[in-house]
């Protein structure tokens, strides 16, 4: 069957089997391999994308269900060569190690900050509870999101911990 959607601001369409998962459609048909598959069973969050403004797990949706949707993946966050503040935060505050959870984590953080650009540490932790990271212990992910929040509010982010050391 034919499915059409807007992905990262571009209208795309392609052939998908009725059982094709959205994440596979993005990765295989559209070649957008930034969205990762960590469990294919809705528990790790690696496949998180933004769909009509909501953070959703693209492994729990069929491509067909996304017909007509407006999707942003991690590839679509940077604009005109400029990183999204969340991407910048992850880079500046060492919010990633292996990077495999990172696209999903970043997409969750983007949605979180769109709803509340000044979250407490606890609100940040709750906001990314559905995204598993096995490398960072979440410590620097929290710092990265705090950095991004400050940037989005037009404030100077707190200095990095290792610069204080």
């Amino acid at each position: 069957m034919k499915v059409s959607m807007s992905v990262n601001g571009r209208q795309v369409s392609g052939e998908a089997e009725p059982r094709t998962l959205l994440v596979h459609f993005l990765r295989e048909n559209l070649g957008l391999t930034g969205t990762h598959v960590g469990c294919e069973s809705s528990y790790c969050g690696a496949c998180t994308i933004s769909l009509d403004g909501q953070a959703v797990l693209s492994c729990t949706m069929l491509a067909a269900q996304a017909d007509g949707a407006d999707i942003t993946t991690v590839e679509g966050l940077a604009r005109n060569g400029e990183l999204h503040p969340v991407q910048e935060g992850f880079w500046e505050r060492h919010g990633l190690q292996c990077g495999f959870c990172t696209p999903g984590m970043i997409m969750s953080a983007v949605t979180l900050l769109e709803e509340n650009d000044n979250p407490s540490e606890e609100e940040i932790r709750r906001g990314i509870e559905g995204n598993l990271c096995r490398c960072t212990g979440y410590h620097n992910i929290v710092r990265a999101i705090e950095y991004a929040g400050a940037k989005m509010r037009g404030e100077e982010p707190a200095p990095a911990e290792w610069e204080n050391a």
């Binding site: 957008l32 960072t136 979440y138």
Partner: protein, 791 residues
């Protein structure tokens, strides 16, 4: 933002721009035209005779290219193991399967969905047999896991290392003799260090591309050991090493479970060669749980003997370790790593024995820490119980029994190993200071006065990592099965290009350690070159010199040292060229700010000019060869011995058993630090995995050998809400066995964390009479322990 490349400084990671924009190239992202996809047929039984395998329905399906069974691959032999003690894994098994998830057949199809459908259509008839799962049951040999073996016990590791039976008995007798003294207490506890599933968020994935006519392989794999995989594939298919390239471009976490050559990697290569097309397989999460190695799995009794005033007279450990059904890369060697650190930071006599037994479960092997977290757990748990019994501050009991700083260099642990450097007391003091120890205890007591169950736990550890020397191969620790003459070298090649940029190629693999950044820092520091001018090539056996990969906290200490030495060689030659160009003395040349300078003058020449000259032999000093590159192999003279002290504060809800981690303080000493940002990140992740074991994670097998926690619903990982922000500090005691003075930090957090948390929880429940709870400390178990103690 600092952009300098001084060692110890902060450089934003160079790998990140790709990874934060979705550009990271992991194995499953690789697309080649005409790729076929694999699905495996796996045993649903832990122990069963395979009566028949009917592949006809699967073969008849549209889009199925081939279905392979054991008969097709028998000629390749079984999977190799570095320490080949125990049964080796068949590539496919159509005889008697030995664990749930064992591969019985392999389907190759044009499409991954079709491959899975076809795997379901393979009809296998099994005759289920009783399974051996429990460790004590296995040890009894009442029933054998492998009918052709005499015993389920594969090997017993004892300590002190190198002691014969008489010497071991003498150590034991010496400790026993003290037990009858009036001023001596003996504390003993059986404890479980449960099995864990490593769970990197990236599932394992492999793609093999056999190039028909060229007769060579390109293999892409999410492996920590590309050179070993290349060696193994070369061996299986009778190909020279120069005909096999393995690329591990980005690896989404390893933690030891990608430190294996797996049967699926060999089988995917086999299929590619048979079919003449690229073939790919990516494991599902459930397959990862059942068919990728697991870790830990010990049950042991720890006994501490000491005086009532805190002088410890002996520590004994006696237990059983679960090897699973087959021995893979390091399987039986993992508990041996525990022998190295069996006596921790301490000087008391230690008697240590672990029986390694086989069971009808998935293989165990190296999971972050590998033998060392287990050893540290038992030692530090029972030490804490002893301190509690005699009523002495647990920090002070530890201090009293340390190997003192004055014994370094030259200290030999009670387990018989020469250690590099150490200063445990300074580290302990720093940890206590950082935590505000007495204030912390007062805070705990105040909370308790309000009826809250708050606890403080402390634990120390010694790690052993960055293994060498290369002569260990003579003790049987070689990687010969993978065509690696020695596992204990680092290897690096540094090349300056004609435009004055540089490339360092190195045998490590990427799985989150920031090597793109660290290696560039080492080279940049030595050559006075901006890190942005330095490219790092790793995880690629075609481009990088052979080395064994990234694991065992070895990369900086071993390959990093090779990188340093290669840089020194390049620097030495460049100094001669620069001296010649500047008409100065070679001894006055210094490298900084993108070129060479004559000390004390403003005479300088940039890397562009030095490099240009290097490729113009006629302008070089008389007799000098053209080119500017150097290779170095570094073989460490010993392993390194990092150490640390961790402190945790917890609160337990006694009504529900719920444990909340309030504070976590880590004081680690990994010698010199190249990148504080990356080192702290490694500790954060390491602690999270140790806390995961303490509080959440458990690979549970039922008595029939079914893994009950094969999905992420049942195998619980810590989430962001389960962990606090960590409070880290460090002491710096450089090692003397490598030129960088670095020890390694990949596993330290994990080695230190689990017992710290459990000690804190037991402290919190002291007034309720709880003295021990086996991990993981999930609410149900904590609640039950409280009920039992109250009963």
């Amino acid at each position: 933002m600092s952009s300098t490349s001084v060692l110890g400084g902060v450089v934003r990671r160079r790998e990140d721009p790709a990874l934060i924009q979705g550009g990271g190239r992991y194995t499953d992202d690789v697309k080649l035209a005409g790729t076929a996809h694999v699905a495996f047929v796996r045993s649903p039984f832990a122990h069963a005779d395979v009566l028949s395998v009917d592949t006809s329905a699967a073969e008849a399906m549209d889009g199925v290219l081939a279905v392979y069974t054991a008969a097709d691959v028998e000629h390749l032999g079984s999977l190799v193991a570095q320490v080949p003690v125990g049964a080796l894994r068949p590539l496919l098994n159509n005889g008697t399967v030995k664990h749930v998830g064992e591969a019985v057949a392999m389907v190759v199809a044009e499409d991954p969905y079709v491959a899975r459908d076809a795997a379901d259509a393979v009809d296998v008839d099994y005759d289920a047999l009783a399974a051996v799962v429990d460790l004590k049951h296995s040890l009894s040999d009442e029933m054998l896991v492998h009918e052709d073996m005499e015993s389920n016990t594969l090997i017993s590791w004892t300590g002190p290392f190198g002691a014969d039976a008489d010497a071991l008995a003498a150590v034991k007798a010496g400790i026993d003799e003290q037990k009858s003294r009036d001023d001596v207490v003996v504390v003993s506890q059986e404890m479980i260090n449960q099995r864990l599933i490593p769970v990197p968020i990236e599932p394992r994935s492999v793609m093999a591309d056999y190039q028909v006519g060229y007769g060579r392989f390109d293999v892409y794999s999410s492996t920590q050991i590309p050179s070993a995989l290349a060696g193994a594939i070369g061996k299986y298919f009778g190909m020279a090493l120069n005909q096999v390239t393995v690329k591990a471009m980005e690896v989404g976490g390893g933690f030891g479970c990608k430190l294996n050559v797996y049967n699926d990697e060999v089988l995917v290569a086999f299929a590619s060669k048979q079919l003449g097309c690229p073939v790919k397989w990516t494991e599902t999460r459930r397959e990862a749980a059942n068919s990728t190695i697991q870790g830990r799995g010990w049950i042991a009794t720890a006994t501490m003997t000491g005086t009532t005033d805190g002088e410890i007279l002996g520590f004994e450990l006696d237990g059983i370790a679960d090897m699973g059904a087959y021995s893979q890369n390091f399987t039986v060697a993992i508990p041996f790593l525990g022998v190295f650190v069996g006596s921790g930071q301490y000087s008391f006599p230690t008697h240590w024995k672990m029986d390694c037994v086989t069971t009808h479960t998935m293989t165990t092997d190296a999971y972050r820490g590998a033998g060392r977290p287990e050893a540290a757990y038992y030692l530090e748990r029972v030490l804490d119980m002893y301190a509690r019994k005699i009523g002495v501050d647990p920090a002070e009991v530890r201090r009293k029994n340390y190997i003192s700083a004055s014994e370094f260099p030259g200290a030999v642990s009670p387990m018989g190993f020469p250690m590099d450097t150490g200063d445990y007391e300074t580290n302990l003091d720093a940890a206590l200071e950082s935590a505000g120890w007495s204030g912390l205890l007062a805070e705990r007591d105040a909370a308790r006065a309000e009826g809250r169950h708050v606890g403080v736990g402390i634990a120390t550890y010694v790690e052993v990592c960055g293994f060498g020397p290369s002569g260990l191969v003579d003790l049987g620790f070689s990687w010969a099965e993978y065509q690696m003459p020695s596992a204990f070298n680092g290897s690096s090649l540094v090349r300056v290009h004609p435009d004055g940029s540089a490339t360092v190629s190195i045998g490590t693999g990427p799985s989150g350690q920031g090597h793109q950044t660290t290696w560039a820092q080492i080279v940049g520091d030595g050559l006075g070159m901006d890190v942005d001018r330095i490219r790092v090539i790793h995880g690629d056996t075609e481009e990088a010199p052979p080395s064994i990969g990234t694991f065992g906290s070895r990369s900086a200490a071993v390959d990093g040292s090779a990188c340093y030495e290669a840089t020194q060689k390049v620097q030495a030659k460049a100094a001669r060229i620069a001296a010649h160009l500047l008409e100065a003395s070679e001894d006055d040349i210094e490298f900084a700010d993108g070129g060479a300078h004559v000390a004390g003058t403003d005479s300088s020449v940039g890397w562009d000019e030095i490099a240009k000259a290097a490729y113009q032999p006629h302008v070089l000093p008389e007799g000098m060869e053209g080119g500017l590159e150097a290779h170095a192999i570094f073989s460490p003279g010993n392993a390194t011995w990092p150490f640390g002290t961790h402190i945790a504060m917890v609160e337990v809800d006694a009504d529900t058993g719920d444990v909340r981690l309030l504070r976590y303080i880590g004081m680690d000493d990994c010698g010199n630090v190249i990148s504080p940002m990356i080192v702290d990140g490694q500790i954060h992740g390491g602690i999270a995995q140790g806390v995961g074991q303490a509080m959440f994670e458990d690979a549970v097998y039922d008595m029939d050998g079914n893994l009950l926690s094969a999905s992420l619903v049942d195998y619980i990982l810590p989430t962001a809400v389960d962990l606090p922000s960590f409070e880290l500090g460090r002491t710096v005691t450089p090692t003397d066995i490598n030129p960088l003075g670095v020890k390694g930090i990949g596993e330290a957090g994990t080695i230190g964390a689990a017992q710290t948390v459990v000690n804190a929880v037991v402290d919190a429940l002291e007034s309720l009479g709880v003295t021990h709870i086996d991990m993981p400390l999930r609410p149900q178990r904590v609640w039950q322990a409280i009920q039992d103690a109250q009963a």
